[in-house]
C-alpha cells in the first residue's frame, strides 16, 4: 500500500520523543529575537531583519532564520531554503503526530478526519516541499513559489476538514496554525525572490 508505506517507515514517536519534538518546535518558535550585535555580524542581522519585516510573521521569521545558519553569504535564496527546509521538518513532524493519533483513536469520525489530514500531509512531505527546496537551489523560483502555495492549500484543507471535538482538535489546530504561519513567511520570501 504505497500511500501509507511512507508513514510506516516513519517511526512512531514514543511519548518522551514526542515531548522532545514539541520542545524542539517550541524552541524554534519562542526563542527571543537576537539583537544584531549578539550575532557579531551587523550586516547579517540587518539583512535578516530586512527580510523578516517583509513577511507577515516577523517574530517567527526572525526565530527561524536566526536559529539556522545561513550560508557564508546571507542571501535571499539561502533564507528561502532555510524556510522551506524548516517547513518540511515541521510538516514531517506533524504527519508523524497525525499517524500516531490515528493509531491511538477508536473514534471512527475522528479517525476519518485524521486520515484525510494524513493524506493532505503525505504529498507535502513526500513531494511538494522537497521539490520546492530543489527548485529554490536550482533558481526555479516560480515553481518553488507554486509548490509553497500548494503546501498552504493542503494544510488548509486539513484544517478545514478537521472538525473533530475534544482536546485533540486543539492540538492539531495549533500545529496547523504554526505551519500556516511558516508557509506565510516562506511565501513572502518567495515573492521577494521572484521580484529579483
Amino acid at each position: 500500500m504505497r500511500s501509507f508505506s511512507f508513514a510506516s517507515v516513519l517511526s512512531y514517536s514514543t511519548s518522551s520523543f514526542q515531548v522532545l519534538h514539541l520542545l524542539l518546535v517550541a524552541s524554534l518558535l519562542f526563542r527571543p529575537t537576537h539583537q544584531s550585535s549578539d550575532l557579531g555580524t551587523t550586516s547579517k542581522g540587518d539583512f535578516i531583519d530586512q527580510i523578516c519585516r517583509k513577511t507577515p510573521f516577523y517574530d517567527l521569521c526572525m526565530a527561524t532564520l536566526h536559529s539556522n545558519p545561513l550560508t557564508p553569504k546571507p542571501d535571499l535564496k539561502g533564507a528561502a531554503l532555510v524556510m522551506v527546509n524548516n517547513l518540511l521538518a515541521n510538516a514531517s513532524d506533524t504527519l508523524n503526530y497525525i499517524e500516531g493519533l490515528i493509531k491511538q483513536t477508536s473514534d471512527q469520525q475522528l479517525e476519518q478526519a485524521l486520515a484525510f489530514c494524513a493524506e493532505s500531509y503525505i504529498p507535502i512531505v513526500k513531494y511538494i516541499l522537497p521539490q520546492a527546496a530543489d527548485a529554490v537551489s536550482q533558481g526555479r523560483f516560480g515553481f518553488a513559489s507554486y509548490c509553497v502555495s500548494d503546501a498552504a492549500k493542503e494544510i488548509s484543507n486539513c484544517d478545514k476538514k478537521f472538525s473533530g471535538s475534544g482536546q485533540n482538535k486543539s492540538l492539531l489546530e495549533d500545529r496547523n496554525g504554526i505551519l500556516q504561519k511558516l508557509v506565510g513567511v516562506a511565501a513572502a520570501i518567495m515573492k521577494l525572490l521572484l521580484k529579483g
Binding site: 500500500m1 500511500s3 513531494y127 516560480g142 515553481f143 507554486y146 500548494d150 511565501a187 518567495m190 521572484l194
Partner: protein, 636 residues
C-alpha cells in the same frame, strides 16, 4: 442491443465515414483525387460562408440552402478520414447556423472540465503519475479549432481536477511523425523509467509506432521529451494496411519477464488487438496469436487492456493477473465512433483474452459511455491505488461554430473504474472523489413527491455548475403491478408511458423553451431485480438548428435492494450522467441559447402517467477549477 439512439432533426449522412478506397493500389490517383476534392471542399466552404451571410441579410432562402447542401454533401468528407483516422468533425448538410452571440459562445466553455485555452483537442494520451503530479497529454492542434497538425499538449495537476497548462510535449518534427504525433500510452517501469509509445503518421502517411521518454526523470513536470533516434520501433506488419495500425497501449509484464503491448488493427471488417512483446521497448516481436478480434466491428482504435479486482474495491496495476482478477478489453470502434468494452479472462500463457459473454463481445455489447464519448484511456494511480479513466468529448455543434468560437472538445472528469460486484457483468464508473473539493453551497431535498405530469423548480441559486445526487422511488397509483415490454428511451422526455419518464430537467430556462432531461423509464413496477432505461434527451437542449441533438440511453440493471439513483455533473455545455452508481454513464453536449448564465435552472419532473415519484436530492454548486497556465514566473 441495449443502447437506443434516435438522431433528431438533422440528417447526418456523412457521420458514417464513406468506405475507404483500396489503399494498396491507386495511390497516385488517390492523391490527384484528393487534391481535386480538397479544392472542391474549399470552394464549397467559401460558397457556404457567402450563402450563410446572404441568408442573414436577406432572410432565409430555402432553395439556395438545398442546392448548396447537396453540393456540400457530395464533396465534403469529415476531417481525419483521408489521413486514416476516424472522422473528427460533424459535417452537417444544412448551412443554416444560429445567430450566436459572444456571450452564448463564452458560456459554453466549461468551468471544471479539462480543455485547452483554445483550438482543437482529441484523444487523451499517456496519462501517468510522477513525483507528486498527475500528467495528462492530449492530441492538440495548436493552429486551429479543427483537427490537424496534431501535437501532444501537456498539463499537470496535483489532484486530477486543478490543471495547469505546460508547453507542448511533442510536436511533429521528424519523418516518423511529421504528419502527426498521434495517440500513445505510457508504461511506468519498476525502476522508475517512463516509456512512451505513440503512433506517428510518417512522411509517407504510414502509421508507425515510436518511442519517446522524458529528457529528465527528476523533473517533476516532465517538460522535455526525447524521441528515440532510430524510430519507428514498429511498422505495420505485412498483413495489416499502413493506415490500420495505431494507438499502442500501456504495456504489461508477462510470466517470461517480457513486456506486452497491444495495438489496434483491422483486416477487412474484423477488428483486432495485436500483441507485441519486448524487453527494451525498442525491439519488438509480434505474437502469432492476437489478443482478441471480433468480426464485423471494423477498425479498433485506442485499444485499452487492464485488470480489475472482482473481490476488492481498489484498482490494480496493469501487470496484475491471477484469481480474483478479470480483464477489461476496450476498443474505440472507428465505424460507429463508440467506445465499447467487455469483461473477460486473460490467458497469460499465450496472451489471449476471452470474453465472459461472447454475445456481448467487444464492439457488440456494452459501451463505456452511452453518449458523446470516444478514445478513452485508463491508467493506474499508484497513490490512491485506483484505475482512472479519461475520455474525449467532441463537440456536437458544427465545425463552423467551433471555428467561430475558437475551440473544440473537452475531456471528461477522470473516472474511477471498479468491477460491479453486484451484477458481475459490467464496470462501475464514478467521478474521482477530488471533484468534491469543488463543492460550494449544498442543498438537500428530502422526500419530494411529484404527481404525474408535474414539473418542480429546485430552488438553488445557480444551475450551470452542479454536482447532483438524486434517488427516486415510485408510488404506483393503482394496485396492479405494471409490466411492459422493454420500453427504451422513446422519443425523449415528452414520450409518456405508465412508468416514466421522470428525473431532472437540467440546463433549462424558466419557460422550458430549452431543457435537457436526464431521466428513468421503467418497464415494470415490481421490486424484483429489473431493468430500467437511463436516458439523456438533447432534443430540446437548444434552439440552434445546426446542433446535433440526440436521445441517448441505455438499459441498466436495477437490483431488488436498490433505489433508482443518478449522479449528474452539470458544467455548462457538458453534462455527465451516472446511472445506478455508474453502472451506465451518458455524456451529453448542449448549446443552449436561452438557458445560460443566470437564466439556467434545474427542475424535477414526473411525466409518467401511472405513478407518483418520491425524490431525494443533494445538490452542490461547484466552483471553477481555474485551469490556467503553470505560473512559472509569477508568485501566487
Amino acid at each position: 442491443m441495449e443502447a437506443t439512439q434516435h438522431a433528431q432533426l438533422l440528417r447526418n449522412p456523412l457521420l458514417d465515414a464513406p468506405p475507404r478506397a483500396d489503399k494498396t493500389s491507386h495511390r497516385r490517383r488517390r492523391r490527384r483525387v484528393l487534391t481535386i476534392l480538397c479544392s472542391v471542399i474549399v470552394l464549397a466552404s467559401v460558397v457556404a460562408i457567402i450563402l450563410v451571410r446572404n441568408q442573414r441579410e436577406e432572410g432565409r432562402s430555402k432553395e439556395k440552402t438545398e442546392t448548396t447542401s447537396s453540393f456540400r454533401e457530395r464533396s465534403s468528407v469529415p476531417r481525419g478520414v483521408y489521413e486514416g483516422v476516424s472522422a473528427k468533425s460533424n459535417v452537417v448538410s444544412e448551412n443554416v447556423s444560429y445567430n450566436w452571440t459572444n456571450a452564448m459562445f463564452s458560456w459554453q466553455r466549461t468551468a471544471f472540465h479539462f480543455q485547452p485555452q483554445r483550438n482543437w483537442m482529441n484523444d487523451p494520451d499517456g496519462p501517468l503519475y510522477h513525483m507528486g503530479w498527475y500528467h495528462l497529454f492530449y492530441q492538440y492542434n495548436p493552429d486551429s479549432a479543427v483537427w490537424g497538425n496534431i501535437t501532444w499538449g501537456h498539463a499537470v495537476s496535483r489532484d486530477l481536477i486543478h490543471w495547469l497548462y505546460l508547453p507542448l510535449a511533442m510536436v511533429p518534427d521528424r519523418p516518423f511523425d511529421i504528419n502527426g504525433v498521434w495517440t500513445g500510452s505510457a508504461t511506468m517501469l519498476p525502476d522508475g523509467k517512463i516509456m512512451m509509445l505513440y503512433t506517428g503518421d510518417t512522411d509517407k502517411k504510414v502509421q508507425v509506432q515510436n518511442l519517446a521518454h522524458p529528457a529528465n526523470l527528476s523533473d517533476p513536470l516532465l517538460l522535455d521529451w526525447i524521441k528515440y533516434a532510430r524510430n519507428p520501433v514498429l511498422v505495420p506488419p505485412t498483413n495489416i494496411a499502413p493506415k490500420d495500425f495505431r494507438d499502442p497501449s500501456t504495456a504489461w509484464i508477462g510470466l517470461d519477464g517480457r513486456w506486452r503491448v497491444t495495438i489496434g488493427a483491422k483486416i477487412n471488417k474484423t477488428g483486432f488487438a495485436l500483441v507485441y512483446t519486448t524487453t527494451d521497448f525498442i525491439h519488438f516481436k509480434k505474437n502469432a496469436h492476437h489478443l482478441h478480434s471480433v468480426p464485423g466491428t471494423g477498425m479498433w482504435e485506442c485499444v485499452d487492456f487492464y485488470p480489475v479486482s472482482i473481490n476488492g474495491s481498489k484498482g490494480l496495476p496493469t501487470s496484475v493477473n491471477g484469481p480474483g482478477v478479470k480483464h477489461v478489453l476496450k476498443a474505440s470502434i472507428d465505424d460507429t465512433k463508440v467506445d465499447h468494452y467487455a469483461l473477460g479472462t486473460y490467458f497469460v500463457e499465450n496472451d489471449t483474452w476471452v470474453p465472459d459473454n461472447p454475445k456481448e463481445d467487444v464492439g457488440i455489447g456494452l459501451r463505456v459511455d452511452y453518449g458523446r464519448y470516444y478514445a478513452s484511456k485508463s491508467f493506474y494511480d499508484p497513490v490512491k491505488e485506483r484505475r482512472v479513466l479519461w475520455g474525449w468529448i467532441n463537440e456536437t455543434d458544427t465545425e463552423n461554430d467551433d471555428l467561430k468560437k475558437g475551440w473544440a472538445s473537452v475531456q471528461t472528469i477522470p473516472r474511477e473504474v471498479t468491477f460491479d460486484k453486484k451484477t458481475g457483468t459490467n464496470i462501475l464508473q464514478r467521478p474521482v472523489e477530488e471533484i468534491e473539493s469543488l463543492r460550494l453551497r449544498g442543498s438537500e431535498f428530502e422526500g419530494i413527491v411529484l404527481k404525474p405530469g408535474s414539473v418542480l423548480p429546485l430552488n438553488i441559486s445557480s444551475a450551470t455548475q452542479l454536482d447532483i445526487i438524486a434517488e427516486f422511488e415510485i408510488e404506483p397509483l393503482g394496485s396492479e403491478e405494471i409490466d411492459e415490454d422493454s420500453v427504451g428511451c422513446g422519443g425523449g422526455a415528452i414520450d409518456r408511458i405508465a412508468l416514466g419518464p421522470f428525473g431532472l430537467l437540467t440546463i433549462a430556462d424558466d419557460t422550458l423553451s430549452e431543457l435537457t432531461p436526464i431521466f428513468f423509464r421503467l418497464s415494470n413496477s415490481s421490486h424484483q431485480n429489473s431493468t430500467a432505461f437511463f436516458c439523456a434527451d438533447e432534443t430540446r437542449s437548444s434552439k440552434a438548428p445546426e446542433v446535433k441533438k440526440t436521445v441517448y440511453g441505455a438499459e441498466v440493471p436495477v437490483l431488488s435492494d436498490e433505489k433508482l439513483s443518478m449522479r449528474v455533473l452539470v458544467d455548462h455545455s457538458i453534462i455527465e450522467s451516472f446511472g445506478q452508481g455508474g453502472r451506465r454513464v451518458i455524456t451529453s453536449r448542449v448549446y443552449p441559447t436561452e438557458a445560460i448564465y443566470g437564466a439556467a435552472r434545474l427542475f424535477l419532473f414526473n411525466n409518467a402517467t401511472a405513478i407518483n415519484i418520491k425524490a431525494s436530492l443533494k445538490i452542490w454548486e461547484l466552483n471553477s477549477a481555474f485551469i490556467r497556465p503553470f505560473p512559472f514566473d509569477q508568485s501566487l
